[in-house]
Amino acid sequence: MSHEPAAEKPAEVTLEPGPFGQFLLEHGIPSKRLANSAGDVETIELEGQHLEAALKRLRNSSEIALDFLVAVSGVDSPESFDSVYHLWSYSNLSELVIKVCTPKSQVPAGQLPLVPSLAPFWNAANWHERETYDLVGIRYVGHPYLRRILNPWDWEGYPLRRDYKQPVDALNDKNPYSFR
C-alpha cells in the first residue's frame, strides 16, 4: 500500500576496495566491491563502460597479470542480468571475479541487455560470449561474430532465462509438433 513505509532494506555495508579495486582506482576506474564469493575471491562490480579499459589494465600490468580469462558466464538474477568474468593469472595466484550487472528495469521490453564485448582484443572471450548470448541473451556490443553457438541458428528465446518457455512441448507425444 502506498501510505505504508517501504520495507526497510538491510543497510548496505560499503566494503573497502580490495587490492585489485585499489589498483583500478589508481588508474581512474571506479569499481564497487561486492561480498566475496565462496573461497574469499575478490569480487567487484564494474560499469559496462569501464570494462574494456579495466580488463586491459589488469591483463597488461606486469605485477598483476590477470592474463587468463577462465570463463564468461551469464546469470539471470532476480533483479538484473549479470555478465560474470572469472580472471586468473598464468604466472601467479591472483584471482578476480568481475561482474557487470544490467538492471532489468533498464532493459526495454523486447530488447537484450547490452554489455561491451571483450572478443576484439581477447580471443578467449569469443566463444564464451557467443555462448552467453545464446543461452542467457546478453548482447555483447562489438563482438565480431555474435551468433548462436550451441543452439540451432534459428532457435527462439534464451533457454537459461528463468522465464523461458519451450517453444514446442518436446516430450509430449500427443503434440503433433513434438520431436518424438
Binding site: 587468463f68 577462465v70 546469470v75 572469472h86 537459461l160
Partner: protein
C-alpha cells in the same frame, strides 16, 4: 581470392567444403566449414552444438542429488573430474571439509581416470593418423584393466558417479589395492612399449613434427589449457600451481615441452603425463590414511566399527564421506567457482545457489570448448590431410564442448 594460372589461362577459386558433422575422426559430431585454396585451408568455421543436451539447464531443474549422476555425461571419458569439480564447488559454498581418506580416494580414482582417458586418446589418435595395423589396441589392453578396477570400486565403467558431495560413494572392495598396486608396477613398461612403437616411428614423425604449431602467446590468448598448453611451454597445471585436494603432499613432475608446441609435442606431453599419473597413484596407495580396506576392517574389529569422531580406527580422516546423502540434499546460498585439472585442461564449475535443493545457475567451463576455439588458427595454411592430425592432437571431446 582467385588466381589465374599463367600457363593455361584457367582461373582457380576458393572452395567451401563441409566436413562432418559425422566424420569418423571427429570423436563425436563436429562440423567444420572449410574454405580451401586447392589443398590448403584458408579459413575454418567450427560449427558445434550437435550434441547439446542442455546440461546447465538440466542442472537448474534437477535436485543436487539427481544432477550428480548426470554430469558424468558431460565428458564421458573423464567422468571423475566433472563430479569432482561439482563436488568441490558445492563443498566450498557449504564449507565442508572432507575426510583425508576420501581425498586420497578421489585423487587415486581421478588419476586412474586420467590414464584411461589418455590411453583412449592415444589409440584413437593413431587411428586418425591411419595407423590401423593393430597398435591402437595395445592401449586398450591397459585401459581395460583400469576400467575393471574402476568398475569394481564405482560400479560403472565410464559413468562412475563415484565422487559425491561430501566424499566418495563407497569403500574399495577387498583386494582392490593389491590389484591396483600390481597394475602400477607393470604400467611404466607398457608405456615404454607404446613409445618404442610410436615415438620415433618415421611415419608418425613425418605426420606430426612441425605441423599445427601453437605458439605460447596464441594459446594463452585463446584460453587453451591442459597438455595442449603445456606442450607450448607454459607450466600451468592446477595440481602444481594451485594445489587442491592432497596434491601438495605428492611428488610428481609437470611435463612441459620446450619448442614451438607442434602436434608431436602434444603427443609427448600426454605420454609423460601418464607416467606421472602412475607415480601419483603409487604414492597414494602408500600414503592413504588407514591403509587398505582389509587392514581397516581388522582394526575396526577392536572398536566394533563405532564410527565415533575421536576413535583412532574409524573417526575423522578415516571416513570416506562426511555424511551419507539423501535426496533432500540442500546447499547454502552463495556462489563459487571451483576448477580441477582434467585430462583435457581446466574444468571449472561456477555455481550460484540460493539455498534450495536445486542450484540457481550452473556454468561449466569446459576445457574442450576453449581448446577447440583455437582450431581455426592451428589449421590455417595446412593441407586437408593434416586437419585430423592437428584436431586429434587437441584431444577434444565433443560432448564436453557441447554439454
Amino acid at each position: 581470392m582467385s588466381t589465374e594460372l599463367k600457363t593455361t589461362g584457367l582461373k582457380t577459386d576458393e572452395m567451401i567444403i563441409n566436413m562432418g558433422p559425422q566424420h569418423p575422426a571427429t570423436h563425436g559430431v563436429l562440423r567444420l566449414l572449410l574454405t580451401l585454396d586447392g589443398e590448403f585451408v584458408k579459413h575454418v568455421e567450427p560449427v558445434i552444438g550437435h550434441l547439446h543436451r542442455a546440461q546447465e539447464w538440466q542442472g537448474q531443474n534437477r535436485t543436487w542429488f539427481q544432477y550428480q549422476a548426470l554430469i558424468d555425461r558431460v565428458d564421458y571419458l573423464s567422468g571423475m573430474f566433472t563430479s569432482w569439480a561439482l563436488s568441490r564447488a558445492a563443498e566450498k559454498i557449504e564449507g565442508i571439509k572432507i575426510p583425508l581418506r576420501a581425498e586420497y580416494m578421489r585423487v587415486m580414482v581421478s588419476e586412474m581416470n586420467r590414464i584411461t582417458s589418455h590411453l583412449l586418446w592415444l589409440g584413437t589418435y593413431l587411428i586418425d593418423l591411419g595407423a590401423m595395423f593393430g597398435f591402437p589396441f595395445y592401449p586398450f589392453r591397459e585401459r581395460e584393466k583400469l576400467l575393471d578396477l574402476l568398475e569394481a570400486v564405482a560400479g560403472q565403467r565410464m559413468m562412475f558417479n563415484y565422487i559425491r558431495i561430501g566424499g566418495v560413494q563407497r569403500e574399495a572392495p577387498p583386494g582392490w589395492f593389491a590389484k591396483l598396486k600390481a597394475f602400477t608396477e607393470e604400467f611404466p613398461d607398457r608405456v615404454d612399449e607404446y613409445e618404442a612403437i610410436v615415438t620415433k616411428n618415421p611415419i608418425f614423425l613425418k605426420r606430426t613434427r612441425g605441423i599445427g604449431n601453437l605458439k605460447k602467446e596464441v594459446a594463452m590468448d585463446y584460453g587453451v589449457t591442459g597438455p595442449s598448453l603445456r606442450a607450448s611451454g607454459v607450466p600451468m597445471d592446477l595440481r602444481r600451481t594451485k594445489p587442491y585436494s592432497v596434491y601438495d603432499r605428492l611428488k610428481f613432475e609437470v611435463p612441459v615441452m620446450e619448442g614451438d608446441g607442434d602436434t608431436w609435442a602434444r603427443y609427448m606431453c600426454r605420454i609423460k603425463e601418464m607416467r606421472q599419473s602412475n607415480e601419483i597413484v603409487k604414492q597414494c596407495l602408500d600414503q592413504i590414511p588407514g591403509g587398505t580396506p582389509e587392514e581397516l576392517r581388522e582394526k575396526r574389529k577392536a572398536c566394533n566399527s563405532c564410527g565415533k569422531a575421536d576413535c583412532p580406527n574409524c573417526g575423522g580422516d578415516l571416513q570416506i564421506m562426511v555424511k551419507k546423502q539423501n535426496a533432500g540434499l540442500r546447499i547454502k546460498a552463495g556462489e563459487g567457482f571451483e576448477a580441477v585439472e582434467s585430462p583435457r585442461g581446466i574444468l571449472g564449475c561456477y555455481v550460484v545457489s540460493t539455498g534450495g535443493d536445486t542450484a540457481y545457475r550452473f556454468k561449466w567451463r569446459n576445457p574442450s570448448f576453449s581448446n577447440l576455439s583455437v582450431l581455426p588458427v592451428l589449421l590455417l595454411d595446412h593441407p586437408i590431410a593434416d586437419i585430423m592430425a592437428i584436431f586429434g592432437s587437441l584431444d577434444v571431446i565433443l560432448p564436453d564442448v557441447d554439454r
